[in-house]
Symmetry: C2
C-alpha cells in the first residue's frame, strides 16, 4: 500500500489517496472500526468483505436518484450508525457519488471512504468532494461538496472492466492531459498507449497518479468551484452532458466528454482562442484511444440539445459558460452564442 497524495482541504482536514492491491483491502477496511456500512452495486459486491453490514444496489445511471440515497440512509439509521460511523462506497461513480451524498446529509455529515472500481471513478469521482444524484433530467443536479476522508484505489479492479467502460475513464484522463500545467501526462499517453490499452498494472498506476495530480492542482485552488478555476475541469462537459442527456444516456460519460472536448476545441478554433495546430494534436490524441468524435446533432435535434445545455450548472447570471482552451493547461470560461454552438457541432 502506498499513500499517493494527502490532499489538503479547508478546516485543516485532508483526503488521503492510497494505491493498494486487492489483497490489502480487507486489512485497510478493518482500520475503520466496527460501525461501518458498505455500499456497492451488484458489479462490485465481489470486493466487499464477508459478513459485513452492506447494501448492494442495482447498477446504472438510472439508479442515481433520491430513492437510492433513501435506501442508504434508511439502512444506516436501521444499523444505528452515528456521526463518527463510516460509509464505505465500493463501485463506480454512481455508487460513490450517491453514497458520499448520503453520508454528507446523514446527521449532517458522517465519515466517508471511497473505493473506486472503474477507471472513470478512480480519476474523477473520488477527489474534490462532489457528491450527488441526477434530478429533473439533469446530471448531478442535487448534491453537496463533501470530500472523502480516504480514497482506496486498487487498480486490479480495472482488469475486469469492459472495453467500453475502460475507454469511458480514458476520456477524463485525456481531459486531464490537456488541462495539466505541463505535457507529462500527454506525452505519457502518447508513448504508453499500448501498455495502457492492454491494462498493464504499472502503466495504469502511473496514469492514474498523473491524472489525479492534475485534478488536485485545480480543486485545491478552488475547492467549491467559486473562483472559476475548478470549473475548468468541466472541459468538454457542457457539450458532453447535453449529448449524454439527448441520447438518454446511451452515450457514456467518458464518451460524451471526449466528444464534447472535440466540440470545445472546434469552438475555440472558430473564435480564434485555441491555436488550430494544438487543437488538431489534441483531437488526434482523443481519436487514438478509439473515441467516436464525429457523431453529429441533426438540425431537428438542435433545440433539444440547447435545452439540455441550458440546464448546465455552470450558469452565472443566467448564461451557461463553456470551458475553452487557449493552449496546454490554459482554460477560459465563456458563454457561447447559439450559432457558435451550432458551428462547433458541425
Amino acid at each position: 500500500m502506498e499513500k499517493l497524495f494527502s490532499v489538503p482541504l479547508k478546516g485543516g482536514i485532508s483526503t488521503d489517496v492510497y494505491s493498494l492491491s486487492l489483497s490489502e483491502l480487507p486489512a485497510k477496511f478493518s482500520d475503520y472500526g466496527r460501525s461501518v456500512l458498505f455500499v456497492a452495486d451488484s458489479n462490485s459486491a465481489c470486493y466487499l468483505p464477508p459478513s459485513c453490514e452492506s447494501l448492494v444496489l442495482p447498477p446504472g445511471e438510472s439508479e442515481k436518484r433520491w430513492e437510492s440515497v433513501d435506501r442508504i440512509l434508511s439502512r444506516a439509521a436501521g444499523a444505528g450508525m452515528a456521526r463518527d460511523s463510516v460509509f464505505i462506497a465500493v463501485g463506480g461513480g454512481v455508487i460513490l457519488d450517491m453514497t458520499a451524498f448520503a453520508a454528507s446529509v446523514y446527521m449532517r455529515g458522517a465519515r466517508v471512504v471511497l473505493v473506486p472500481t472503474t477507471l472513470l471513478s478512480s480519476v474523477d469521482a473520488t477527489l474534490g468532494g462532489k457528491t450527488g444524484i441526477d434530478y429533473a433530467g439533469a446530471k448531478n443536479f442535487v448534491g453537496t461538496f463533501y470530500p472523502a476522508e480516504d480514497v482506496l484505489i486498487a487498480s486490479e479492479t480495472l482488469s475486469t472492466l469492459s472495453e467500453r467502460e475502460f475507454r469511458c475513464g480514458l476520456g477524463e484522463v485525456v481531459k486531464h492531459a490537456f488541462l495539466s500545467q505541463d505535457r507529462t501526462l500527454h506525452d505519457f499517453l502518447l508513448s504508453e498507449r499500448e501498455a495502457v490499452l492492454r491494462r498493464d498494472k504499472a502503466a495504469l498506476d502511473e496514469m492514474i497518479r498523473l491524472s489525479l495530480e492534475v485534478k488536485i492542482w485545480y480543486i485545491t485552488r478552488d475547492p467549491e468551484e467559486k473562483k472559476g478555476i475548478r470549473s475548468a475541469l468541466n472541459f468538454g462537459h457542457t457539450f458532453g452532458h447535453a449529448l449524454e442527456s439527448c441520447s438518454s444516456y446511451s452515450v457514456s460519460h467518458g464518451e460524451g466528454v471526449a466528444w464534447g472536448m472535440v466540440r470545445a476545441f472546434r469552438a475555440g478554433v472558430n473564435l480564434g482562442i485555441t491555436p488550430s495546430e494544438y487543437a488538431d494534436e489534441c483531437i488526434g490524441l482523443i481519436r487514438s484511444f478509439g473515441f467516436d468524435t464525429e457523431s453529429s446533432i441533426k438540425d431537428e435535434e438542435f433545440p433539444v440539445f440547447c435545452e439540455a445545455i441550458a440546464k448546465d450548472k455552470k450558469k452565472k447570471s443566467g448564461s451557461v459558460r463553456f470551458v475553452l482552451l487557449e493552449g496546454q493547461g490554459r482554460p477560459v470560461l465563456m458563454p457561447l452564442a447559439e450559432d457558435e454552438i451550432k458551428k462547433a457541432l458541425r
Copy 2:
C-alpha cells in the same frame, strides 16, 4: 432597518442579521434580484410580496420530510434557477430548515435568505447553518451545515403568534440565558418579563438581540459542532427531543426543551455537577414563563423514552452525551447511566 450582526463564517463569508419592520421587507426583497424563489407555509404566505415566484407548503412538523424538499427543488428547477439564484424562506423553523436544506443541495449549493416569523425560528433556526428534515422517526436526522447569507427579522410578525407558539420560542431564549457568559439576558428576562409577555416590540427586539448574541458566541467557536463547544446549545434537547418524540410531537419543541432543561438541571444536581441553588433559580425562571415542567414519564413509557434518546445525533463512539451545567455559561458534555436518566425524570 438595522444590521444587528455580521456573523463570520469559514471561507471569509458571513451571515448578516437585520432587524427591520414589515414595511421595509419588500424593498429588501427586491435587493436579491430577479431569480428568486419564495417558500412559505400557509401561515406565513401573507408576508410574501405580490406576484412573486413562490411555493406555499402546508404547515407543521409532519411536513418536514423529503417530499417537501423535493417540491422545493422541483419548483426551483422548473423556474430555471441557477447557483446564484436565491431561495427566500419565510416562516417558522420547519420552512426555514427545509428551504435551506433544499438550497444547500440545489446544484450543490444556491443562495439562501431566511425570514423567521416565529420567536423560536428568530432565535434558533436562523443562525448556525443547521438545515434538515426529520427522518426515520428522528428530528433533523438528515441535513447539512449551510449558513444563510442574510437573516431578516421583522418582530412584528410575532404579534400574531398564539400564546403557545410564542412560549415555544421562549424556551430557547431561556436556554440562551443559562448558556450566556454573563447574566445580562437572565436579568433582562427577570425584569422585563411583563413587557416580553405582552409582546412589546422594543422588549422583543432587545430579547432577540441578546439571545442571538449567546448563540453566536457558541457557533463561531465551533461552526460544525466538531469541538464539543456548539453542542452546548443542545442543553435540554436530548431529554426534550425524546419527550417530543414520545408525545408524537404533541409537545412542542420549546416545551420539550424547557422540560428537558429541568431534567438536565436535576441530573446535574444529582451528580454534584450543578449547584442546587443555581438549578433552583433557573428552574424558577423557566416556570415563571408558564412552562409545564412536571409532566412525568411513566415506568412503562421508560423503554420507549430511552429508545428515543438513543437516536440522538450527539452520539460519540456509541454513547449519547447529555449537556449539563456547572453554573452560568459553563456547560459540560457527558453520557448518563440509565438509572441517572430515570432519577432525573422523577
